[in-house]
Symmetry: D2
Subunit: 277 residues, 4 copies
């Protein structure tokens, strides 16, 4: 089980989310917790929007907790929009090309979960990827294939609908192969303007997903909490697991839900896989 | 341009070929030489037959010259049959899954060369790989695809013919896509009993390949040379570049040739791509 | 807190101890357990006696659980005597030169524990190392300094006494600097013939250490257990944490104790730091 | 032989120096050149001043030429002052703690060259380092010791004089040990405001060092050269080897010279080792 977070708001140093909270993402990657049988020590990635329209990516196949470069970088850049991911490999090699976020043009993508029986389904899934995208699949994870399927199904034009088509397609391929409950996923995506998140599983149990309350509410709840002081009103954090234990800070996103986070607020939509044809 | 070597003979420590010669493979990986514009510093691999029927593989994404583990290993094992490879990446990532040798069952495979315009041809090549082998392609090199195509075309039953079909198939796919002179390759392969080698290019210039003279001849030429003393009569080394400068030690393998090295001697065959149907 | 194991007996594949048991060392490095707050993901090492009188060392700065080279090596060598170690860094960098075992001539050494306030005491400790050994300290751990101090104090001639002098010296330097309870250590050492182990702490709580029962007893206890079938009568395993949960298999070594494991059996001695002069 | 560059001027993206020139530092690290027997593939480092008074450091033990993170970073930050270094190891391990720049407070430091017979002299050199700095020596290079000696001899107060004392001290220690011509060095240092550089060798041959001409002269020489267009008048580059072949662009710094580069211009001073007392 991997862990990830996304942020949209006024520019911050990634350090504020990756290192500073009590249960920061880096801390989570290492420290044991109920329901996390193994550490997220099989590489990590940070993607952010900086000086260009395309996201900048920093990947490593080492555990995040000991990486000095990540610590430096997290204090030396500022960004209004980022995705970060710590990986626990489930069968595929530990290498940078298997580290999230994956990117294409202005978009980037992180995933926590799996495609069941991926090795068996992989060929059928990859064949459905748009041929001109084929060679941009650099690694061997199921996650990267999901991203390329979503692009194939229209991610750049209709993000949520494309993700629903991707999920429906994976489920139909799995059904044909006799693989039950094939999809387990929380997703984080962004085009540099909006932050999208999805919580969905084919079966009854979906990995967790949380979104932070709006900053105005947080200031009412915690008027003396300094860390909220410099956040802009629209700032939001989406996380696989809460970073701090303040009551009222995190709202659990229900399973079968998509979020669209933008400066105007958070929209919550149902997420329903669309089977092809 | 990568470099590689293969050995078949009485058991030796890999050190004797990887480190000890004046122009050893490890030395070659680092030191500048005419016709080698860049170092072979993008990972390496050693494959050998030891305690099992399947080859044992040691891969690293670091330069071979600074790797202490390789140095240790090369003195701590002995083997009658090995393939070693130092890589200069040509576009694909530096990662262990892109390091040679690649293996499947009892077979392993190294390649020096390229498939021209690989990114464009890759999808068509990969689709022709036997579906049950699809998920065993772990990396993103052209070399690994060539190996899986050769298996698809019957490598385990008819090694040289399967390699000829593979070459013919790649050339036909390239021709259809308008890619001229697509194949540049020296290949080393083994099933644990025989050592196969191929020198071939679609165009006029083929990367070099050399095979050592038989040990009896070497002893006549160099009666006082100690390093030949413990070699068995059938021992042979196949190399992309000579390891030492002794006249008479290396025979250049002509372009368009396949070698079959076994205990009884070396057979030299023409290598002619076979276009499918 | 690091974890380690040592083995002396008939030749085995390291795999039998590193991977096969239910709570194998590699499994322990990753999976959460009571009393292990963080994983042992900051590098590992395997040292064994093979074709030479000096130990062969394999080190990596990656987590052991994802390392394919270690898995291969652990099946491709056999050895009658090995030390293996998985590291959780406590302040010093994650790099191969900080990975155990450390070696000098025929000896090698692993450590679980710490020197309290090491950064402050380091200079005084290092200055006491024999000048001709100074440049062989390659890394920055407290463990490597303890090993070099032990050599300085006569490890090669009187192993246990030298370790007692080392411990006494560290405690006297710490006392002068006002550092209480400076030493926490379980140690594993070997010269290629005997396996030495120490459990000691300056304060009241010492890290755990266990030694396996003799093979004859194990066979009486578990007559159908196949994994004991090929072990020679003198085979012993010394571990920081038990590898399997069989009652009667592991004897806890008391704090303040040194073990000498050899073919004739296990000798248990008191371990008492000797303050200099 | 390592290679390095320093830049002081208006803020630029490091990419402009690390990647864009014909003979960029990254290109130099890989491509063979006369007088460079081996590649600079044993790690690299980039240090720059960004959002804090202390330099930010990015180190890797991989070859620079294949590092995607360095490529990203070099376009995502801007800085008015940087040092970059590509390493060819000469005996000490390939690890991040052996990569330049080294830093202390606001200062950072790079070195090309060596201390002859370093392993033998190391203890005497390290013992002369200020005791409170002892534990901040993290790696095992001679370069890091030179830096800490310079700090010990007053680098923060009198930079050039402290470097002269450092050089004199090393030469006196070497003389006592019978080591001839002990120092070979070009140095780059900065406190975040000025850029210092030294070219010196104890013997007759000193490694090369070049400084760029002032921007006004460059624009006169090359009025249509776009790459000079956005440089501020005071911008200067100091390099171990020229990055481009434009006549008049590079001035060779004589052996036995120190440079002080600041916004007002470049001052050139004699560099003469000062033997202690």
């Amino acid at each position: 089980m991997c862990r990830w977070l996304g942020y949209l708001g006024n520019p911050i140093e990634p350090r504020e989310l990756l290192y500073d909270p009590e249960r920061s993402l880096i801390e989570q990657s290492r420290t044991h917790a109920p329901g996390m049988p193994v550490p997220n020590g099989d590489g990590f990635g940070l993607g952010w929007y900086g000086r260009r329209a395309e996201p900048a990516l920093f990947h490593s196949d080492q555990p995040a907790w000991g990486d000095r470069n990540l610590r430096t970088l997290s204090s030396e850049i500022t960004t209004p929009l980022l995705l970060a991911h710590v990986r626990a490999a489930t069968g595929t090699p530990v290498q940078e090309t298997n580290c999230h976020p994956f990117s294409s043009g202005r978009w980037m993508f992180v995933h926590n979960g799996y495609v069941a029986d991926h090795a068996r389904l992989r060929r059928d899934l990859v064949l459905a990827v748009r041929p001109d995208l084929f060679s941009s699949i650099e690694g061997s994870t199921d996650s990267e294939v999901l991203f390329h399927l979503a692009i194939t199904f229209g991610l750049f034009e209709e993000p949520i609908a494309a993700l629903e088509r991707m999920a429906g397609f994976v489920e139909s391929v799995a059904a044909a192969a006799g693989v039950p409950d094939p999809l387990q996923m929380t997703l984080g995506l962004t085009d540099g303007e909006r932050l999208y998140a999805v919580r969905y599983a084919s079966g009854p149990e979906a990995n967790s997903l949380h979104v932070s309350a709006d900053v105005a509410s947080l200031r009412l709840l915690y008027p003396t909490e300094e860390r909220f002081a410099h956040l802009s009103p629209e700032a939001r954090v989406v996380v696989s697991e809460p970073l701090v234990a303040l009551p009222g800070l995190w709202h659990e996103v229900p399973a079968g839900t998509a979020l669209v986070v933008e400066k105007g607020g958070v929209e919550q939509l149902p997420f329903r896989p669309r089977r092809p044809g």
